[in-house]
């Protein structure tokens, strides 16, 4: 017997079942199909403007810095100002996201390549107001390594993509990738990388970015 068969047999013996009981199979199929929601905190259940404000407050609470701009045309200027203020070079690592590529980057250069040691730019799939969390998905548009390797990570998110809770993100992922399917990697990012393992004091920039800059585009 294979290890798989043995483990399943052990589990079934322990539970006193055969695995073919119709009621159990139905219970599992139903749950996987309908995905009941459980308890959703009231905190994030707000109108769009309040949701954006909550997202900002929660992201700042976990030490991200946040800027708001009115439209796509203003993103480049905001990025340039941020880089200049931090004394960082005007070159950004980025993937092949068509939205980012189409922005008017006067004076700034977007380049693919290793983000080890330079600032990187990504576009978020969405964001969750409840906890100030950015949601990024893998792919050539926004490579996962950009989320972790650079010392500074700048992430653009549309105000309309800020949702109240994680459950709404699941619905949007199912809409984009299909029921039961997921991108290879989904990253929830809430603030810059940190560790309290040395000297028992929290320090930023453990393995991931020391700085997380969020730019919210649009919204009231």
């Amino acid at each position: 017997m294979s290890a798989r068969a043995e483990i399943l047999a052990d589990v079934r013996r322990a539970l006193g079942v055969t695995g073919s009981e119709a009621s159990r199979r139905r219970a599992v199929a139903d749950r996987l199909e309908h995905a009941p929601q459980g308890t959703i905190p009231a905190r994030g259940q707000l109108d769009p403007a309040e949701r954006k404000a909550l997202f900002r407050a929660e992201a700042e609470r976990v030490l991200a810095s946040v800027a708001e701009v009115a439209s796509n045309a203003d993103v480049a200027a905001e990025v340039a100002t941020y880089l200049r203020r931090r004394n960082l070079p005007a070159t950004l690592r980025a993937g092949a996201d068509p939205y980012l590529a189409a922005l008017p980057w006067q004076g700034l250069e977007l380049a693919e390549g290793s983000p080890d040691g330079t600032a990187a730019l990504s576009r978020a799939f969405g964001a969750v107001a409840e906890s100030g969390t950015l949601v990024l998905v893998s792919g050539k548009e926004n490579p996962t390594r950009l989320n972790f390797l650079p010392p500074t990570h700048i992430v653009v998110v549309a105000a309309g993509d800020i949702v109240g809770d994680y459950e709404t993100i699941w619905q949007r992922l199912r809409g984009a990738y299909g029921k039961g399917a997921m991108p290879r990697t989904v990253n929830f990012i809430s603030g810059p990388s940190r560790s309290a393992d040395i000297g028992r004091t929290m320090q930023l920039g453990a393995h991931g970015p020391r700085e997380l800059r969020i730019i919210i585009v649009g919204g009231k």
Binding site: V28, P36, T185, V186, S190
Partner: protein, 472 residues
């Protein structure tokens, strides 16, 4: 290290001044931070109920969820392996490494990896396993086990860590300044970054496995497990079979209680959902994605009176709130799992005959159960182990005699009342005037006083109050 010498190690821990300072800092920090996070979320207790119910439902249908999960992993291009024992799991990991001619494996934190001793298995087969969680990395340099589930190196000072780095990072300039924590962090980051970029294999644990999508979830604050899952060409997920949850919705319920209970965070800095290997057009991600599902005693627990312990999501709240753990730290338990959860889980993994002290290392105050995010009745389960130990004759002759003596009286109520009344009077008489007994025949009063009885027996007092209540 083993679980059989709790008492001796607990004594050493109590004498260790540095450990005691570290424990007090982490204790006050973790409990206060958890309390603050709970206060911020009115739905917290409702989420705990939900978390408990999800885990109970999943365990009751574990065979079917394992099958559903496997189907989704396979559909996304990943490979699921099954391992009944620690040895089987290690053999699987080693054979994957060997197939790739791997020399270096970067590791995210994995409790099951520690449980099965995967590092030793890798080393024995020519693969260098490098822990990348900063706390775990420091412990690996020192050859120590973690003392805490979420803060593994909590017992070490900056100065100790600096000395370890000087010893281990020989290629760096000798005169470099390592007095500040920030310098230590920067050095570890640079050393480990090189490892991430050159490793053949990334090994992580999983906080949850999602049956609906075939996804493994890890939570980190450093971003280390996430890099281990992204950069090397092979990602191996080590997970015990009880990590299954049905859906993404269920995972969200559990994530909300996990981080609040662990560190008081609303959510960890990184929560990473990995599903299969790199897709066509992906510029990064592993070429192979393996999941090793480990039983190692879980299915046996599932059919026992200890089944509820399988709900555990490894947050560490029971340790942070345990007066025994707070006093002796994690190493005293002699096991990968310390504190109340360790006191229940360790005897199941190594046999009660090898861990008889652990379910007794409790004052039964119930703090563990009161903070457990999945409401595991830890005191009850510890009591079950005590019963097992007694039935199997594993308790000392003295303890057995004492319990039998107490049992003799307890079964004879009239005699019991008479004897306790007499005892209370005698004890009250030898009281040192302030209600404390300073000298008793047993060793109890060697390090603390014993409160002297101040009047009647409990039963007499209870009867008196009851009749007063009736009159009013």
């Amino acid at each position: 290290m083993n679980a059989a010498q709790f008492t001796r190690r607990a004594h050493l821990a109590l004498e260790d001044k540095q450990l005691q300072t570290a424990l007090s800092i982490s204790r006050d920090g973790f409990t206060a931070q958890r309390a603050a996070a709970v206060a911020r979320l009115p739905e917290f207790d409702s989420l705990r109920d939900s978390a408990r119910d999800i885990k109970a439902h999943t365990l009751a249908h574990l065979d079917l969820y394992l099958e559903a999960y496997e189907k989704r992993v396979t559909a996304s291009g990943g490979i699921v392996h099954y391992a009944r024992s620690a040895k089987d799991a290690n053999d699987i990991v080693v054979s994957i490494c060997r197939r790739h001619g791997a020399k270096l494996a970067v590791k995210g934190k994995t409790m099951i990896g520690e449980e099965i001793g995967v590092n030793a298995a890798l080393e024995a087969n020519g693969v260098d396993p490098v822990e990348t969680d900063l706390g775990e990395y420091i412990l690996q340099l020192r050859g120590e086990l973690p003392s805490h589930i979420t803060a593994p190196a909590v017992h070490l000072t900056k100065e100790q860590i600096a000395a370890d780095f000087r010893r281990a990072h020989r290629d760096l300039p000798e005169g470099r300044d390592l007095t500040e924590a920030s310098a230590l962090l920067a050095e570890a980051r640079a050393v480990l970054r090189k490892m991430f970029l050159s490793a053949d294999i990334g090994i992580t644990g999983a906080n949850f496995l999602v049956a609906e999508t075939g996804t493994s979830i890890i939570v980190t604050n450093e971003g280390n497990g996430d890099l281990a899952a992204t950069l090397p060409k092979v990602h191996i997920v080590l997970a015990s079979i009880e990590k299954l949850v049905p859906t993404l919705e269920d995972a969200a319920q559990l994530l909300r209680v996990l981080t609040r209970s662990a560190t008081g965070q609303e959510i960890s800095t990184y929560t990473t959902f990995a599903t299969g290997p790199r897709r066509p057009g992906d510029p990064d991600g592993p070429e192979e994605y393996h999941v090793v599902l480990v039983d190692n005693g879980r299915s046996a627990l599932l059919g026992s009176e200890f089944a509820e312990v399988l709900r555990c999501i490894r947050c560490g709240a029971c340790m942070n709130h345990c007066p025994v753990y707070q006093s002796v730290g994690g190493h005293a338990y002699g096991s990968v799992y310390a504190g109340p959860i360790g006191a229940v889980l360790t005897p199941a993994l190594v046999g009660i005959e090898n861990a008889v002290d652990l379910p007794n290392a409790s004052s039964f105050c119930g703090a563990c159960e009161s903070v457990c995010p999945v409401r595991i009745p830890l005191p009850k389960l510890m009591r079950f182990w005590r019963e097992h130990a007694f039935e199997r004759g594993l308790v000392s002759v003295r303890q057995r005699l004492a319990l039998n003596l107490w049992g003799f009286f307890a079964k004879r109520p009239a005699l019991y009342r008479f004897a306790t009344r007499a005892a209370v009077r005698v004890l009250a008489k030898i009281d040192g005037e302030d209600g404390r007994l300073r000298k008793m025949p047993a060793s109890w009063t060697a390090s603390r006083d014993f409160p002297a009885p101040q009047g009647e027996t409990f039963q007499a007092e209870f009867a008196r109050r009851k009749s007063m209540g009736r009159r009013s």
